[in-house]
């Protein structure tokens, strides 16, 4: 390949200008990083890098245009397209060097190593972004900014004027993203935004080339504002035309957190109170309503509430919460909440990173003592320097906020749960998911406070183990193969005494052909903790058919299994009414291609009789389970939007006695925000 004549000059120019430029870039990157890993990352890659890329774009032909060097070389027989490409490649190379410098500072910063790059990064409303997508996003943004600079310089031939064009131009796609959010209720994924940036960059690069070819350095051509305006409009329209359909078509195009309306709810029968998370386009709000949808308390905004982590406390309710403050750094909290008393009280708060000790903490709250006075969790601390991790049991006094730690082990450990007395049920040899083999597990009852370990003997062929939320018992699901039949049974292991009791279910657990197990590879019966009661729930679901799903539910403290049989294949787990007469679940017709769902309310079959359908109600949204407000009313989320990518969800309440389906009065998020501002 023939070398273009401009190449030696470009190389010489790069060598000449690089040291100063790199020192400046490194200083900027260090300055940004000094603000902390989160702000430093955002400032480095989303402010400094694009602006440097824009400056680089301006500089690609700044000297040639402003000092007339193009006029000199235009008297030579040189290929102008090739010259443009050589300059572009040179700029791209330098851009990669700039990005590398910023990245180097991020990586080599003393505390940088405890924020490893592979982690997902929270990007505001867009949500968490993985490393590959982040790389694409940063690269496309930088390329777009570079192209903007080249267009600005090509249009104005004066860096000062071009800067005024480029500064708003480089934030145009971001403005488009916000337009999508505000007008179309869609938050594009990082991938869609990166695609938009890439498309816009390509349009601008073509525009920059056309401008370069149209501009004659021997002519005093006037400022081509019409061309720039047309190019900017074409870029905006092109990016929007590509980005909007992409955002609507991609399943992940919608940020759930930004879906408008009620995004989560949980009924606390103690009130009854209903915790609702409401989202507008800017904030998430957590509020407490009474059983009629009336206003009780506003609990805060923009915090990653997890209402279902609720544990009881004699004086109210105890919520566990995980809150993310920055794009990388996170903070964990535990809160005490008594709705009538107003805002929650923070009883524990800690950063995920301890920069001074170069340690990363990962805390998981697991359970509370029965009286609610102690909140238990596990903590994994990772020492960056020694690359070792330590498992601890943590106990938080919910009255004093005092935290106690007890080491568990430095080996891999899977904590099933914490007993009210602070002992831990853990698996010392955790298996891979779906391994369905507990034969090699070492399930133990640990007392880290006394440093005692008691093995828990599981029946042979145990395939699932469920710990009651209150820590009163373990349920082992045992699978037995006899000839060509597979049968199941359950064994209750009392805690902390570890006494085993064989349980019989009514109706009995099924005996199935071995072929059914072999063809699917996983057991037909699954076991798990029941979300509602904290007990055990066995599910026998015939996947891909419309055969009725069957459930066996054992609430803590009960001696008998509650058998529930759906009318067809259910979509969600059943929720029992408080008096346990009725249950509700979402149901989908698997034999149809239609994704339509129904909310079924069933009466429990008594004495082996057939289940009775009480009510069936079409629903459009089943992201969260229905819940019983009381014995007559089921609360569920309803999507009012016809756009599946942008749901607007509202709570509705279905009265199963009257069949009346009405809106559950929930304050509008905007109104809610105004209320809180006051």
């Amino acid at each position: 390949m023939k070398t273009h004549p401009i190449t030696p000059a470009e190389f010489e120019q790069s060598l000449r200008s690089s040291p100063k430029a790199l020192v400046m870039i490194l200083l900027l990157a260090v300055g940004a990083r000094a603000l902390g890993p989160g702000p430093g990352f955002l400032l480095g890659y989303f402010i400094i890098l694009p602006n440097l890329a824009m400056a680089l774009g301006l500089g690609v032909f700044q000297e040639e245009y402003e000092k007339g060097h193009l006029r000199y070389f235009w008297g030579w027989p040189i290929g102008r397209t090739t010259l443009w490409l050589v300059k572009l490649v040179s700029a791209l190379t330098f851009l990669i060097v700039i990005a590398g410098c910023v990245g180097l500072v991020q990586a080599l910063w003393p505390t940088g190593a405890i924020a490893p790059p592979p982690r997902e990064v929270m990007l505001g409303p867009i949500g968490p972004v993985g490393p590959n997508t982040m790389l694409w996003l940063i690269g496309s943004l930088a390329l777009f900014a570079l192209a903007s600079g080249m267009v600005g310089m090509g249009a104005c031939r004066s860096a000062k004027h071009a800067t005024f064009i480029c500064l708003p131009l480089i934030y145009m796609p971001i403005a488009l993203v916000f337009t999508f959010m505000l007008w179309f209720d869609i938050v594009p994924t990082a991938g869609v935004v990166a695609t938009m940036f890439t498309a816009a960059a390509v349009v601008l690069l073509i525009g920059a080339y056309v401008l370069f070819r149209l501009r004659n350095p021997f002519l005093e051509q006037v400022w081509v504002w019409r061309g720039v305006a047309a190019l900017t409009a074409a870029t905006a329209i092109g990016a929007a035309a590509l980005g909007l359909p992409l955002a609507m078509l991609t399943g992940g195009g919608l940020s759930r957190a930004m879906a408008r309306g009620v995004t989560m709810f949980e009924v606390d029968p103690a009130g009854p109170w209903v915790y609702v998370t409401l989202s507008d386009m800017r904030h998430n709000h957590l509020a407490v309503l009474d059983g009629e949808g009336g206003w009780v308390a506003y609990l805060g905004k923009d915090q990653g509430w997890l209402p279902w982590g609720m544990s009881r406390h004699p004086d109210g309710s105890l919520l566990t919460e995980q809150m993310t403050l920055g794009p990388i750094n996170a903070q964990r909290r535990a809160l005490f909440l008594h709705p009538p008393s107003g805002p929650p009280r923070v009883i524990f708060e800690d950063d995920e990173f301890d920069n001074a000790n170069r340690t990363v903490f990962s805390i998981q709250w697991v359970a509370a003592s029965n009286d609610g006075s102690v909140l238990y969790g596990t903590e994994i601390s990772f020492d960056v320097d020694s690359q070792t991790q330590q498992h601890m049991l943590i106990a938080l006094d919910t009255d004093t906020g005092r935290l106690r730690r007890a080491p568990l082990t430095t080996d891999q450990i899977s904590v099933f749960g914490v007993l009210p007395d602070g002992r831990v049920v853990a698996d010392m040899q955790p298996q891979q998911p779906y391994n369905a083999d507990y034969s090699s597990s070492e399930l133990v009852l640990l007392d880290p406070w006394q440093n005692k370990t008691t093995p828990i003997e599981l029946p042979e062929d145990t395939i699932e183990v469920v710990l009651f939320k209150d820590g009163s018992a373990l349920i082992a699901l045992v699978q037995t193969i006899d000839g060509n039949r597979v049968s199941y049974r359950v064994v209750r292991i009392g805690l902390p005494g570890l006494e085993s009791t064989e349980m019989t279910a009514d109706p009995p657990l099924p005996s199935l052909p071995l072929q059914a197990l072999l063809s699917r590879g996983v057991p037909s019966i699954g076991a798990g903790q029941d979300w509602q009661t904290g007990g055990a729930l066995l599910t026998h679901r015939a996947y891909g058919t419309d055969n009725p799903t069957r459930y066996w539910l054992l609430p803590p403290g009960e001696k008998q299994w509650i058998g529930l049989t759906a009318e067809q294949n259910t979509y969600s787990v059943p929720f029992l009414s408080p008096n346990r007469e009725l249950w509700a679940a979402f149901v989908r017709d698997w034999t149809s291609t239609s994704p339509n769902l129904e909310l079924h309310v069933m009466r429990r079959a008594r004495d082996g009789g057939r289940p009775e359908m009480v009510l069936r109600q079409p629903v459009k949204f089943a992201m969260q389970q229905p819940q019983w407000l009381d014995n007559d009313r089921v609360l569920y989320l309803h999507n009012e939007s016809s756009n599946p990518a942008a749901p607007k969800t509202r709570l509705r309440v279905l009265n199963v006695r009257t069949g009346e389906d009405t809106a559950f009065t929930v304050m509008d998020p905007a109104l809610l925000a105004e209320t809180t501002d006051r």
């Binding site: 023939k2 030696p8 010489e12 007339g68 060097h69 027989p77 021997f218």
Partner: protein, 310 residues
């Protein structure tokens, strides 16, 4: 017999311009410029600032498209074969410079990549002749050194036609002398040279032909040796009865006063001027007309331009 390859027919003039028009918005830079340059000649293009010299040169190089008229350089149309022309022509722009930080050796390296016929030994020879340090950057060079460097870059591919736009402008006498000698040397080698200049002495010294542009038109186009035949110049010793300014006003001759000495210059022959002076009772001594005097005669005030002569 097959047609010759375009641009290789040496019997045609090196440059032919017919009725060249170039407008810059409302400004008419060239208003029907016509001239031709014979191969092997040294053509001096002279004119006042803004007369259109540089515009004409840029059009020849294919750097500016003409508004109207025809241009042929080495038998090629600059609008269609600009790259071919630039490959065969050496161009010395007046104001345009390479990057200030560029070393001369890098410029020559670029030239070797740009021109297929680049002769590195020729470049080295000229650098030595001009005593140029190729390690120096342009910003470290004097104006004369920079001009010589640009000239080396323009002629090291051994061009058939060398176009120099104000090569001696602003140079010290030594550098000017070096460049003039270089042009003379290249002329002896048979290179066709077009150079524009404000300095009429330089043009007189090296040009075989001269073209005078005024307000976008060629108002004089002649061989230098014909200037003395076409224009008359007499030194006048006036008496009291003669009013020489009257002759100037009647556009029959231009009066030039140099101290106590009076000259009359005209596009008529010198003996006609001498006779005219004698009719008024004065005494006239015939002297050869020089280019500066002719330039002043033609470009002065609203005097009607003489018909251009090929």
């Amino acid at each position: 017999m097959a047609d010759p390859i375009p641009g290789t027919d040496t019997s045609t003039p090196a440059v032919v311009i017919r009725e060249l028009v170039r407008h810059f918005g409302a400004v008419q830079a060239l208003r029907g410029l016509s001239l031709s340059i014979e191969r092997g000649s040294v053509f001096g293009l002279v004119g006042n600032n803004g007369a259109g010299k540089t515009t004409a040169i840029h059009t020849l190089m294919g750097l500016l498209p003409p508004t109207g008229g025809e241009v042929s350089v080495l038998g090629l149309d600059p609008g269609r074969a600009g790259q071919d022309i630039r490959r065969r022509v050496g161009f010395f722009p007046e104001r345009d410079e390479p990057y200030a930080w560029l070393r001369l050796r890098s410029l020559l390296q670029m030239g070797a990549l740009a021109y297929p016929d680049w002769d590195a030994s020729c470049a080295a020879e000229w650098c030595e002749r001009f005593n140029l340090d190729t390690r120096k950057r342009f910003k470290q060079m004097s104006k004369g050194m920079a001009a010589k460097s640009k000239l080396v870059a323009a002629l090291s591919h051994r061009p058939e036609l060398l176009i120099l736009d104000e090569p001696t402008s602003g140079l010290d006498p030594g550098s000017r002398q070096d460049l003039i000698e270089a042009i003379q040397s290249l002329h002896r080698e048979g290179v066709t040279i077009l150079f524009s200049s404000h300095n009429l002495d330089d043009v007189e010294r090296v040009a075989t032909h001269v073209g005078l542009i005024d307000q976008g038109r060629c108002v004089l186009h002649t061989a230098c040796e014909q200037i003395t035949e076409r224009f008359g110049r007499v030194r006048v010793t006036p008496n009291a009865a003669i009013d020489l300014s009257l002759l100037d006003e009647r556009a029959e001759a231009r009066l030039e006063v140099d101290g106590d000495v009076h000259y009359l210059v005209s596009d008529r022959r010198a003996d006609w001027l001498a006779a005219l002076v004698a009719r008024f009772g004065g005494t006239a001594v015939v002297e050869p007309a020089d280019l500066p005097a002719v330039f002043r005669l033609i470009t002065a005030g609203d005097r009607p331009a003489p018909e251009a002569v090929a």
